[in-house]
């Protein structure tokens, strides 16, 4: 569908309508002279529409990256404590970009048109933005101490060493 194909037509007045009778018309209203037709697609230049489409595509592509500072602020406000709300916030922060990563093509599908082309650059920017958001969320998880990235997290998996020697301590008897 194209949003530029619309028409406002006051010319074809119904016979029974009030506008056909000039006595009911407000002063200064001339039904004949209001005949007005707009034909945008034919009148405006084609490059304006192209410009709009591109702008919109870039808006979508830059969306995740633009929300990064806000997310940072939110994460900062969430605090370091491990409780239900910060966890939910971090979870959403992790989940939304991850979901977006898997639906890149679907996101750009409605924007596809001959004028925007393959949109590969847009997609890359979109991807980078989302990866940035995920990175931010992972960093947050790290600062909360939930990532098993220190030796202490793997401590319980270290097996007990074998023995190279055996030793005996007993009491000596007379």
């Amino acid at each position: 569908m194209s949003f530029s194909q619309w028409k406002l037509d006051y010319g074809h007045a119904n016979k029974g309508s009030k506008t056909s009778d000039p006595t009911f018309n407000p002063p200064g209203f001339f039904s004949q002279s209001t005949g007005f037709q707009q034909h945008l697609d034919s009148e405006r230049p084609a490059d304006q529409q192209e410009h709009l489409a591109r702008k919109r595509a870039w808006d979508v592509a830059m969306g995740p990256a633009k929300s990064l500072p806000m997310n940072m602020f939110m994460m900062y406000m969430a605090g370091r404590s491990v409780s239900i709300f910060p966890i939910m916030m971090v979870g959403m922060m992790l989940w939304r970009p991850a979901k977006a990563l898997f639906s890149v093509n679907a996101t750009f599908k409605p924007l596809e048109s001959p004028v925007t082309g393959s949109m590969i650059l847009h997609k890359i920017v979109f991807l980078l933005g989302n990866i940035g958001a995920i990175g931010l969320a992972i960093y947050k998880v790290h600062t909360m101490g939930l990532l098993p990235n220190t030796p202490s997290d793997w401590l319980e998996f270290i097996p007990q060493p074998n023995r190279a020697q055996y030793s005996i301590v007993t009491d000596a008897f007379y």
């Binding site: 101490g145 030796p151 401590l155 190279a164 005996i168």
Partner: protein
Amino acid sequence: MNLRIFVLGLLFRFSLAIFEDQAGKFDWRKQFVGCPTSVRFDRAERGSDRLILTTREDLIASLSLNTGEIAWRKLMEKRDEWSSNAPIATAVDEDNIYSVVDSGRILRVWRKADSALVWQKVLSDEPSKTAEIALFDNTVFAAVDSKIGAFSLAGDEKYAIRLSGAVKWTRFLKSGGRLFHVKLIDTQLTARELSAKDSDPAPGVKSVTFTRFNVEKCTIAGSLVLCAHSDTLVSIDVSKALLVEEEKNTAVTIREITGSATGFAAIRSPSSLKVFKGLTESFTINGEFTAANFVDEKYLVAVSSSDIVAYELANGKEIFQVKHAREATKSLIKALWAAKTSNDWEVVLVGHDCLVEYVVVEPSKNLASVEWTSEEALARIATVEMVDLPLSESQQMIEDEFEGGKGDLFSAFFHRIVTQIGQLRKWALRSVRHIFTLGSRLSSRANGFSDIINAVRSASSSDGDNTFERDYFNLRKVIVVSTFDGVVFGIDSATGAILWRFYLGQSFSPLKSQLGDFQVPLMVQRTTAHYQLHGQAAVVFRNSVNSKGVIVMFNPIDGKIVSRKELDGSIKRVSLLPYLTNDHIHPLLVLEYVPELAAEVLSKAAPLYVLDVSVEENIVKGLKVNLLKRHLSTTWSGSIGLTSDDKIIAVKGKPFQQKVHSQGRVVIDRTVQYKYVNPNLAAVAALDEKHQTLSIVLLDIVSGQIVHSAIVPKAAAPIHLVHSEHWLAYAYWSEKGRRTEVGIVELYEGGEQQSMAETFDSMAPTKQAPVSIAQSYIYAQGIVAMSVTETEQGLTTRSILVGLPDGGVHEISRKILDATRPLELTQEMREEMMIGYVPEIMIPNEEMINYNQSVHRVHGIKTAPSGLESTSLVLAYGTDVFFTRLAPSGTFDILKDDFDHVFISIVLAALVIGSFVSKRLARSHALNAQWA
């Protein structure tokens, strides 16, 4: 703020205390009185008849004559000598018991009926080797080494006579309305007449040189002091004006001599019992008697290995001879006490194994019936081991199923099908049996719904009780116990019932260790994990006749003796070898006898080292055991920094199978401090009484390297050590603070990395020396025993168990007794719920694992893992025995006892039903809405 956090931590721990309805559910306590040294029959005019005992455990007790239950028991101060066999000196009148206790320091008077203390007087400040007491003419006479005191019955001192000299033997002697005090100093026998007047009239003191005196074989009979000297009877009449030694040859080897107040004496020889009146023989009874005693000064009762006999003294006539056979697992009788009632005789028999039997003899029916018995050897437990029960039949079949996995695919499949059919058959049979028993019970007593419910419940639980097999969580075990009296017991940990017992023989004597304590080592050589083979345990002791070592091997589940081996010499050390032979047995290493091992065992065996501590010379040696050539070689030796004033008082190693689950400690910045878990580490504690210092040395047995050493100033005995994992806890008396303190040393690896992650090799060099962190705490109670909990995987935080002098057993979590408790708590530490350092260890009553079930004179606390990681089994033993289950970190792997299964099930069922109903309702509602 610190205190608030600490209190919060304590509140958290309160939840570990047991609930009121859990009391007695999985714990039990047995109270004992010990081996009786004197027994008196007490006929009460009101209430039940009693026995009044004094025992070797230094206590006075009153037992109900009918049941043998303890009516009351009074624990006295322990005497200085450990193996003092002399009874507490007691005298009894109508209402009271008069006793000289606390090594002759105090005279105490108790009311017989309710054990109330009537009065007490201090006799002396110094301990005394001998003590005697007599009642004469409404006066209490008490004699100790340094004094004879005369007191009125109300407790007023009438007079005191000072004495001096090292007394070997002392007695009071009543004859012809006169009271004499007889004592022996060196070879000088002195007799002094005492009067009941308000002051000492200083009557004549007579004395005579008495060279043929033998403390063990002397008695008083009437006015005579009678002593046996091989086959000769020597007497001195004290009532005569001049003390003259008279003698008579009895022509028999005298084993024991018993005197009566009327002047009779019974002389026991290996083949006969001779009764003398003074020095004239009145009659002889032939037979191998083991004990004899007089009854009411008129009769003589004696016991042999098969009979109980009684004779009248006046004419030597036999009153009865009844059979009293003893099983092979019991020892011979060493003492007896008897009383005559109107138509029967009551006899209390005490064996060498401290088995107390109460026998009622009916001479008219020629019948002896044992009314009750009591195993008083359990008051002196030496070593405890807990052995798993054998696998149940179904568990064995599961083991069977996976056993034959070596064959080809088809045979393995066939094997599996066969075993599973077997399991199915077993299950079907059991179910059918259940239904039948249930049916029979229902038909026999079904008067209402509750009866049916009860029958179902008991039918489902009954089969667990009569079969003797491992339970699901391996919580029920056989507690195998060796005692200082030479009896080995098997005790069911569920109820405390004695499953089996055997006596190690008349020649039993405990091993005396270098550190001065006695031991009867008991070791489990093969557990019941190998279901095709029976378990095997070994008990080691010394033959008292020839001092040679004896090893008795037995099955710990049923107490059947497998073998008994007498070694060629005495035992210097004994231990289990850490290797398994082909029949899954840990061989015993008895030095200097190194066992012969099969070549294939030797080929896999890691080198073995033994720590040798010489207490006299303060020299510590490391010995390497060469199992192939079967000899020992010294690898290192040294004084480990001990001076000549230091006296080594404790050496503690680690059990060779100890599991340490976590290899490190997480520091607050999430890095790891790796534990220095050296399995070859031994802790040596030495006390310097002159300078009042306690030296603690941790050294590697293999290399001789001193890993840590510390000196605690102003420390004194008692010292208790617990050495486990990577830490050592030690309790001592601080002379400076005049309080008990508990120190803890934890060892960590010096570097950031775990230096020996795969194999711990004591010989391998480490880049950095281990780091030790030490801390000490105030403990506001004395400590009599210390131990640590043990769990299956070593994952649960351990607790240190402390036996207190008042009979409590206190559980201190390692979280509290921790060397790394920070002095300053930061916000992050608080978030991690760390507990800041507070010098005191609180002793809340909620942390007493034995709540109000006091265990007195705790000698040791044995812990053993159960099948549940959270749960450790604990046996505290002393005069009393207490067993319980302990969950040091809470029962995290099992639902709580009070978990409401019914409520949860009802809620769940209601939810499921509700969802179905509402689904239906919603559907019909939607349909209606569409029609409308």
